[in-house]
């Protein structure tokens, strides 16, 4: 696979020189230059909207640069389509996987470039080749497994194998960790290291500082479409990278006053909840959250956190136990009734539950309040009032949007999340349930959302934060509950616990 192209031996594997791309009046990339060498992991860091996606789309032939040039192995290339890019040995793993769910791993890998035998797809050879690739680079997958049955982390490995199968020597990973659990992310970083050791050049896009610190040999930081810095992780620290990325210094650990907890707001006793397949996901769950405190729920994903949040907020039927809200039994209430009692809910999956992508920002800002007085009268929507409210909220919560009439799906992920946070925290609530409140959100917005959660606490709300990010929980929580196999395995005081101690319980060391 290597040595396919004759090129200047000393030339970088991939090089961008002065790439500029405009969309109308918006400059997405301006004079961006970077180099990727063989066996190197290049971290591409930047906030949402900094121009990372545009840049890699140009490198993969999905966009054509307005000016500047791309060189592969020292030679100028013109990439008109991904097909050209693949032909030049460039592979890309998109954030949203491009796999056929009902086909096997091997079938997905060879799709479009199938080995044939007597004009039929040679399935045996396909499986063998996939097996060979997976062993060579330590990418554990079963070639005969059906893709839809695989966990997300394994699906991602299939995507990587797919690119390698097509002869990729340059691999672009677009926010590969955004969809992964912490364990899967560790596995991914291991794979990346192995690929680099095997001579593959990797562009690793992320906005997570820890990952570039761990995995990258060099980091290129983008801001407002421009390269604002190029550093080696050894020469800087997370705070330095964050400042470079955001353009100001960022407080990674927010200062907050000690909690002054009041009376119990949420009391959960012996809660039992089933998941979508009818299996018991939450069992014997007990927890109390008091007014004016933030309780974090840590745990390896898939230990019932999602079901817990949905059950508290009335979106999922509860099979047993009880949920008390200020001493009222709300176990049997639906989503609307619980919302009306003053429970704010930032859902785990913003695109699935949190907003309607085709709706305007204004409509999404009242998604669960559209019929409240002030927004509607006699069943007629007060659209002017909704618009005014939205204008106010996007300023207050710094939602970057062309306007309140713009469709929500035209916003970046971080701004979509801020939109949801704005909707949920702009209302006085007694309880805030925030599930993965900063998933896929850039550093600047993370800081902002954390401050909002603390502000809600300081206004006297009880706050429950469920997150897969230990750092996040340590930053915002007053107490941390570790959830394992559907129940609370341990409870810590956030001020005096280390992530190692929590990690041990998550992994099953203590408790029980």
């Amino acid at each position: 696979m290597s040595g396919r192209r004759e090129g200047d031996a000393g030339a970088p594997l991939l090089e961008a020189r002065g790439l500029t791309k405009r969309f109308g009046s918006v400059v997405a990339n301006e004079d961006v230059s970077l180099q990727l060498r063989r066996g190197e992991v290049l971290g591409l860091l930047g906030e949402n909207g900094a121009g990372k996606s545009t840049l890699v789309k140009m490198l993969f032939g999905l966009h054509r640069p307005d000016s500047g040039e791309i060189r592969v192995g020292g030679e100028v290339v013109r990439l008109r389509s991904p097909r050209d890019a693949i032909g030049m040995g460039i592979g890309m793993v998109h954030q949203h996987f491009q796999l056929v769910p009902v086909m096997t791993v091997a079938e997905n890998v060879v799709l479009g470039a199938e080995p044939t035998r007597h004009r039929f797809v040679d399935r045996r050879r396909a499986a063998a080749e996939v097996q060979e690739l997976s062993e060579r680079f330590g990418l554990a997958v079963d070639p005969d497994a059906v893709v839809e049955d695989l966990p997300i982390g394994a699906q991602q490995r299939v995507e990587i194998i797919k690119a390698l199968y097509r002869g990729a020597e340059i691999l672009i990973l677009d926010e590969p960790s955004a969809v992964l659990t912490p364990e899967e992310t560790d596995e991914l970083l291991r794979v990346v290291a192995e690929l680099a050791a095997g001579g593959v050049g990797i562009v690793f896009i992320t906005h997570k500082l820890r990952e570039v610190m761990d995995a990258a040999d060099r980091v290129v930081v983008l801001r407002d479409g421009r390269v604002v810095g190029e550093v080696a992780p050894g020469d800087t620290d997370e705070a330095g990278l964050a400042a470079l990325m955001v353009g100001r210094s960022v407080v990674l650990r927010i200062d907050k006053q000690p909690a002054r907890p009041g009376g119990t707001v949420l009391e959960i006793r012996g809660l039992e909840v089933d998941d979508d397949r009818g299996r018991r996901a939450v069992q014997g769950f007990d927890l109390e959250v008091r007014a004016g405190e933030i309780v974090g729920v840590a745990g390896v994903q898939g230990n019932g956190q999602r079901e817990l949040a949905e059950a508290i907020c009335g979106m999922r039927p509860r099979s047993g136990g009880c949920v008390l809200l200020r001493e009222h039994d709300v176990t049997r209430l639906g989503a609307r009734a619980i919302h009306d009692l003053g429970v704010a809910h930032i859902p785990e999956d913003r695109n699935k539950h949190g907003l309607v992508g085709s709706y305007s920002v204004a409509d999404d800002l009242v998604l669960n309040r559209f019929d409240e007085p002030g927004f509607a009268r006699w069943g007629r929507r007060e659209r002017a009032a909704v618009r005014r409210w939205a204008e106010q909220l996007i300023i207050e919560f710094d939602v970057r949007t062309p306007g309140v009439e713009a469709p929500a799906d035209s916003l970046s992920g971080g701004n979509q999340q801020k939109l949801i946070v704005a909707r949920e925290l702009s209302r006085e609530s007694v309880l805030v349930v925030a599930a993965q409140p900063t998933r896929g959100v850039d550093v600047g917005s993370i800081e902002f959302i954390h401050r909002q959660l603390v502000a809600a606490r300081d206004r006297g709300a009880a706050v429950l934060v469920i997150s897969a990010e230990l750092e996040e929980l340590l930053a915002v929580s007053d107490r941390i509950a570790v959830m394992r196999s559907g129940c609370v395995a341990a409870m810590f005081d956030a001020g005096s616990v280390t992530s190692e101690a929590i990690g041990l319980v998550m992994g099953g060391a203590a408790g029980h």
Partner: protein, 354 residues
């Protein structure tokens, strides 16, 4: 701002224009004159009050059918059963129209309309409930109901409700007290349909009820999160859709045909789908779309007489227009439009079991 307002109109208008051009080419290929065809359509559809009234009469049930389809689509449902619902609405209102003769017009006509609405709503309600409670796809249920209802109305018109001493199967003429007249040369039914288009627009685009339906249609998970009853919205949208189709059938019986006669309204419900698409699921845009199709339908006899063209040419032109609206990519490619000019693409249904 100006171009933004025009954009949603651009696509359907361009689609119709391109379809007409292709139609003209087909007419030429068939050895007839496109000019003669256009003249025939114009004369038949728009020259003189009678021609205009005939066009609007043709457009009336189409308007109702289009609105019926739109209400479903907004809630993410594909009511392919508008045809059957329209037929039962037509026959029950006709039955009430002749059976209940003797009632004062102020009672008789509204009563007949109400019966038409109810009997159109019922089968749709059934489909809605099955969808909401058992997850049975509404397309399958309404297709099966279509077959049942078409045959039921045929049997009624040729059996128990048949006009005595007649060779054709049809119901007796409705009483004068149930007839919808013309006002200033315009059929009242058409005016009612136009009014209904505005009502449907208001309900869907301006009320909280419409917001509920649209939220369920756009993202049922988000609707569930927002505490909107997905089942309730499904049943309501389906029932309302059926009610509109039933009203369309009633207006046709009471205002245009004057009785129920099988075959008169064949395909109207399906034309409703064409119209809803052509109008890009916007209730007010259904009015011009229905008038356009009404005009083409009203002129089919003239097309045969004057241009010696098979009336099917009208369907060919409509099918091409529909194809272009439903597949904007083709049109974009033909007209070299930029992608931005066709935002708000219509998604009619999400496929099976979605």
């Amino acid at each position: 701002m100006h171009t933004d307002r025009l954009r949603p109109v651009l696509l359907p208008v361009a689609a119709v224009a391109v379809a007409v051009a292709i139609g003209a080419a087909i007419v030429l290929a068939a050895g007839a004159s496109p000019v003669a065809a256009a003249t025939a359509i114009w004369v038949a559809a728009f020259s003189g009050t009678d021609a205009i009234a005939a066009t609007l009469e043709k457009a009336t049930p189409l308007l109702f059918a289009g609105l019926a389809v739109i209400v479903g689509v907004r809630a993410g449902l594909f009511n392919i059963g508008a045809q059957g619902q329209l037929l039962v609405g037509a026959i029950t209102s006709a039955y009430a129209g002749y059976r209940l003769a003797g009632l004062p017009p102020a009672v008789h006509l509204p009563l007949c309309l109400a019966i038409g609405i109810l009997s159109g709503a019922l089968p749709a309600l059934l489909a809605g409930v099955l969808r909401a409670t058992r997850g049975v796809h509404e397309v399958i249920v309404t297709i099966m109901l279509n077959t049942i209802l078409v045959n039921l109305t045929d049997w009624l018109a040729g059996g128990p409700w048949m006009e005595q001493g007649q060779p054709v199967s049809r119901t007796p003429a409705i009483a004068g007290s149930a007839r919808m007249a013309r006002v200033a040369g315009l059929p009242v039914g058409f005016l009612l349909a136009v009014a209904m288009a505005f009502v449907v627009w208001f309900v869907l685009d301006r009320t909280t009820f419409g917001f509920r339906l649209a939220t369920v249609g756009a993202n049922r998970n988000a609707a569930h999160y927002a505490g909107i009853s997905v089942a309730g919205a499904t049943v309501a949208a389906m029932t309302l859709s059926g009610a509109l189709a039933g009203l369309g059938g009633a207006v046709e019986s009471l205002g245009i045909v004057g009785r129920f006669e099988p075959g008169f309204n064949a395909g109207l419900g399906f034309d409703g789908i064409t119209i809803a698409l052509l109008a890009r699921v916007s209730p007010r845009a259904v009015i011009p779309a229905a008038v356009l199709i009404g005009a083409l339908r009203a002129s089919s006899t003239q097309l045969q007489a004057r241009a010696r063209l098979a009336p099917e040419i009208v369907d060919v032109v409509l099918a091409i227009a529909l194809l272009l609206v439903a597949a904007p990519l083709i049109l974009r490619w033909l007209l070299r439009l930029r992608p931005g000019s066709c935002r708000t693409e219509v998604q009619l249904t999400r496929g099976w079991g979605a």
